[in-house]
């Protein structure tokens, strides 16, 4: 899979080329805005990693002219600028995601995978948390390498948590999600369901926050 890396810093460029190659990507590395625009026009890349601070043209300008020319290759912006404004500007111009330096290679790879998955139209099939994935078609839950299939209640609970990873849901909020109207809610039902899920895939799949509820960590 070919990836276009637009990055002027030699050390980052070399490191990323090396790291991405090790993951099985073919990396085309360009170091300035003008070459970047040509390379994007030539096409053939599954994904573009774009640095915003480039010599000979702002990275946002590269993105703008590529989108204006009708090139819709997925773009992941990798930059030192973390201001909300430049983040919004990048996403508005049609970038698929935004990663602020410094970052770990693992995170970059995970985001690249997510973008590629979305491109392949499989995004809706999976909910992703830190090291947990929920398949919305097969109802299979995988956590840290362990895979298990969930019952309807377990799936409903896990789905509620994984819709918004990093957000705490209270007992009442979870009950609301897994019980229909008029259905009798058994006390300790939520605890029992969580206990079963943890037994199936491991304790770390659902985190407890004393006094507030439960959550799954953000990816």
């Amino acid at each position: 899979m070919r990836v276009l890396l637009i990055e002027d810093d030699r050390m980052i460029g070399e490191g990323l080329s090396h790291g991405l190659s090790a993951e099985g990507y073919t990396v085309d590395w360009v170091r300035d805005g003008a070459t970047a625009e040509t390379a994007m026009r030539d096409g053939g890349h599954a994904l573009v990693l774009l640095d915003l601070g480039l010599p000979g043209g702002d990275g946002l300008q590269v993105l703008r002219s590529a989108r204006a020319a009708g090139i819709d290759t997925s773009v992941l912006i990798v930059t030192a600028r973390d201001g909300l404004d430049s983040r919004i500007a990048g996403l508005d111009l049609g970038a698929d995601d935004y990663l602020v330096k410094p970052f770990e290679l693992r995170e970059l790879l995970a985001r690249m995978r997510a973008i590629l998955r979305r491109r392949a139209g499989r995004a809706s099939a999976r909910l992703v948390a830190a090291d947990t994935e929920l398949d919305t078609e097969t109802h299979a839950l995988s956590h840290a390498g362990t895979v298990a299939s969930l019952s309807a209640r377990e799936y409903a609970l896990m789905h509620a948590l994984m819709e918004r990873p990093g957000r705490i849901l209270s007992r009442a909020q979870i009950e609301e999600r897994i019980y229909g109207w008029g259905e009798e809610v058994e006390s300790n039902a939520v605890d029992a369901i969580i206990l079963t899920i943890r037994r199936k895939v491991g304790k770390g799949a659902i985190l407890n926050v004393r006094g507030a509820g439960w959550m799954v960590p953000k990816p």
């Binding site: 030192a80 330096k101 410094p102 705490i168 926050v209």
Partner: protein, 427 residues
């Protein structure tokens, strides 16, 4: 050196001037009165002498009730070498010459006028003291209004000064109310013309300071930004390192993490020094706290710390959500950092008298004695060795609180089990 008082100076010089004028007027009045009085009294003496020559007044007539005996004229008359009449206190010797003369009689100086008509001679004498008295009264009369003028001028000038200087009060309040980031020139309206150049000069200084401050803020933010790229490069190089020296790799990665965190904190601090945006919305404090806690659950789990949160009642406060999130994230981060494994961190939102109060309570090592005053200083670290930190967390938290009208206190818990940080309304 004692500060120069405009009022005292003006009043001092004014008093000296009025006193000088008063003295001069008194002197002039004295001299003029003496001369005028001399001519006038001399004329009187002569008149009396000429009149006395023909018909003699009754020497034994009692003096008028309102007349000082000393003021009376002494009339002496000689006829054919014989003393015909004399008043008390004057010599009875016949003068040799006619006309005006100053003579000493009976130990006193007299002004006399003598006239001779054949065998009769009349001399009228008046005490010199009377003339001096006359002049002295005239002089005092000239001085009196000026003496009244001095206290009156104090009152009027003092009042006028107060009025003019009172206009400076607005200026003083404007200056006193300014924070380090408050920009914009001082209003020169209503300021006395004499003080206007001072205000202008101050405005110039404010503009220069503002520019310097902006440059410094930009520098911190720019420098932090620029540091991110080399840090990213190092991070990626470490990730790509092949080999089995895992321990040294972890140590290197830890160092880069620390540097990255410092850069993040510096940027946050720089952002908190920016001008406050107008028209910020209101924040659901309970949800914000839950989100902040959620962000730290993984860290707490990793350190085996029991992280709990209690939202007693929902609360909305007018504030900037991002800044509040930064504030509470720093407090929770600190609590987790200083609490050993197996400890407990509690985040609570309570309503006290209708005001939202947030506390972050830990079971950590507590603050060392004497650190209270420096706790919020940038780069001050109260941590025992072995606990990492940038020394910026509380500085950032306090800035975040201040910018949103909140007060942050951090102190040891009463039971000595750790630290409690409390955020509440400033009022």
């Amino acid at each position: 050196m004692r500060p120069v008082s405009l009022r005292r100076t003006a009043l001092g010089w004014m008093t000296a001037l009025l006193a000088g004028i008063g003295l001069a007027a008194m002197l002039a009045a004295y001299v003029l009165a003496q001369r005028e009085a001399s001519d006038f009294l001399d004329g009187q003496l002569r008149q009396v002498a000429l009149n006395a020559g023909s018909g003699l007044p009754d020497a034994d007539a009692p003096p008028a009730a309102d007349q000082d005996p000393e003021d009376q004229l002494a009339v002496t008359i000689w006829k054919d070498g014989q003393l015909l009449r004399s008043d008390r206190g004057v010599d009875e010797r016949r003068p040799e010459r006619t006309g005006y003369a100053d003579i000493v009689m009976g130990g006193e100086t007299w002004r006399t006028y003598a006239t001779a008509n054949g065998t009769t001679m009349v001399r009228v004498a008046q005490r010199e003291v009377v003339r001096t008295e006359f002049a002295r009264h005239a002089a005092l009369g000239a001085l009196a209004p000026l003496l009244l003028l001095i206290p009156l001028s104090w009152i009027v000038v003092g009042w006028a000064m107060n009025r003019v200087l009172g206009r400076l009060d607005d200026l003083v309040q404007d200056l006193a109310g300014r924070g380090a980031t408050a920009n914009g020139p001082l209003a020169a309206r209503g300021v006395p013309a004499e003080v206007a150049p001072l205000v202008e000069a101050m405005n110039g200084l404010i503009l220069r300071l503002q520019a310097a401050l902006d440059a410094q803020k930009r520098f911190v933010a720019d420098a932090a930004h620029e540091l991110r790229t080399p840090l990213a490069a190092m991070q990626i190089q470490i990730d790509a390192l092949v080999g089995d020296d895992g321990e040294r790799r972890t140590a290197l990665a830890g160092g880069i993490n620390r540097a990255s965190r410092l850069v993040d904190q510096l940027l946050r601090l720089a952002r908190l020094d920016d001008d406050i945006a107008e028209g910020r919305g209101s924040v659901d404090l309970g949800q914000l706290l839950l989100d902040c806690v959620a962000d730290h659950v993984v860290i707490a789990q990793g350190k085996d710390i029991d992280l709990g949160v209690e939202i007693e009642a929902p609360a909305r406060i007018p504030a900037d959500g991002d800044e509040l999130a930064t504030l509470f994230a720093n407090l929770i981060d600190n609590a987790l950092r200083y609490t050993p494994a197996g400890g407990q961190v509690d985040v609570t939102l309570r309503l006290v008298d209708g005001e939202a109060v947030v506390s972050v309570c830990d079971t950590g090592c507590g603050l060392p004695p004497g650190s209270a005053s420096r706790l919020f200083d940038r780069f001050f670290r109260a941590a025992p060795p072995g606990i990492e930190g940038t020394g910026l967390g509380l500085a950032i938290a306090r800035r975040g609180a201040e910018r949103n009208g909140l007060r942050l206190t951090v102190e040891n818990r009463r039971d000595g089990q750790g630290v409690i940080a409390v955020v509440c309304s400033q009022a």
